[in-house]
Symmetry: C2
Subunit: 152 residues, 2 copies
C-alpha cells in the first residue's frame, strides 16, 4: 500500500514529509513500540537492492526492541534521542552514523520533549525481526544502563 | 587508502567530520570539478551491497558533469545548492531526495556563499562515469537553463 516515487527530485511540501510518499504506521500495533511513523523514500525500483526509509519517533516514544540477520545503517536527521545498539546505549547527534550489525539488538528512543527522526537503510530482501525471549531480556537487563533504557 | 569503520556509533568530533573516516579528495584533479571532498561512511563491510558517501562542495564549487549505468540516491544535509538531474535543474532543500537513474546526466553545484553537503548512495559494484562528448554537451546546452547551469 506504499506509494513511492522515482521522480528525480522529491521535495518536502512540509519539513520531513516527502511529496508522493505515504506516511505509514511503523508496523501493526503490538504494544512493543510507541509513536512511530515511517516513510519509504527508496526501494527496489531505485536499482541499488536497498530501501531507504525515514522513521520518526514522537517525543517519549520508542521503536521495538529487536534483532535480525540483515543490517541497518541509521542516520538521525531530526530532533534528539538515544539508541541501544548491540550491547550499549548511545546518545545520538544529528548526522551520526549508527551501524546495527547482523543479529545485533537495537531499539531507538526519542527524547521526552523532542521527536527523533532518522534515515534507515536496509536490503530489499531481508529476514523478519525477532524479539527477545524472557531469558534474553533478563540477560540484557543485567546491565543497569540497558535495564534503565529498554522499553518492552 | 580509505579508513572506514564498522563501529556501531560513528560520532562527529566536529560537524560533518565523522570519527575514523578519512577526508578524501573527490577524485583526482582533472579540471572538471571544483572544491569537493568525500567521506566514505559505509561500504561492502556493512553488508548491504551499497556504499554511503558524504560529499561536500565548497561555496561556488561543483562536481563533474557525468553519467553512468549505476544509480545515485542523494540527500542534501548541509548548506544550499542546485543540481542538474537528467535534463533539468533543481534547487535543493535539506533532506530532499534526488534520484539519478541509470545513464542520467548529473552535476551538483553549491551556492556561491554556502557549501552543499550531501549523502550519496551507490552500489559497491559499479561502472565508471563517462563525461559528455562535444556533441552531447552541445545538445545539453540547447536548453538555456542547462547552458547557464553547466560547468565543464
Amino acid at each position: 500500500m506504499t506509494t513511492r516515487t522515482t521522480d528525480s527530485h522529491v521535495t518536502q511540501p512540509e519539513p520531513y514529509r516527502w511529496q508522493g510518499v505515504d506516511l505509514l504506521a511503523y508496523k501493526e500495533a503490538d504494544g512493543t513500540f510507541r509513536s512511530v511513523t515511517r516513510q519509504v523514500l527508496t526501494d527496489a525500483e531505485h536499482g541499488q537492492g536497498v530501501s531507504l526509509r525515514y522513521f520518526e519517533v514522537g517525543p517519549g516514544g520508542h521503536t521495538t526492541l529487536e534483532k535480525h540477520e540483515h543490517t541497518h545503517v541509521v542516520i538521525p536527521i531530526r530532533g534528539r534521542g538515544s539508541a541501544l545498539v548491540v550491547d550499549r546505549v548511545v546518545e545520538l547527534e544529528l548526522n551520526d552514523v549508527v551501524f546495527v550489525p547482523s543479529w545485533g539488538w537495537h531499539q531507538f528512543r526519542a527524547a521526552d520533549d523532542e521527536p527523533l527522526g532518522f534515515l534507515c537503510s536496509v536490503t530489499v530482501e531481508r529476514d523478519r525481526p525477532v524479539r527477545p525471549t524472557a531469558d534474553e531480556l533478563e540477560e540484557l537487563r543485567r546491565d543497569p544502563a540497558l535495564a534503565a533504557f529498554l522499553r518492552v
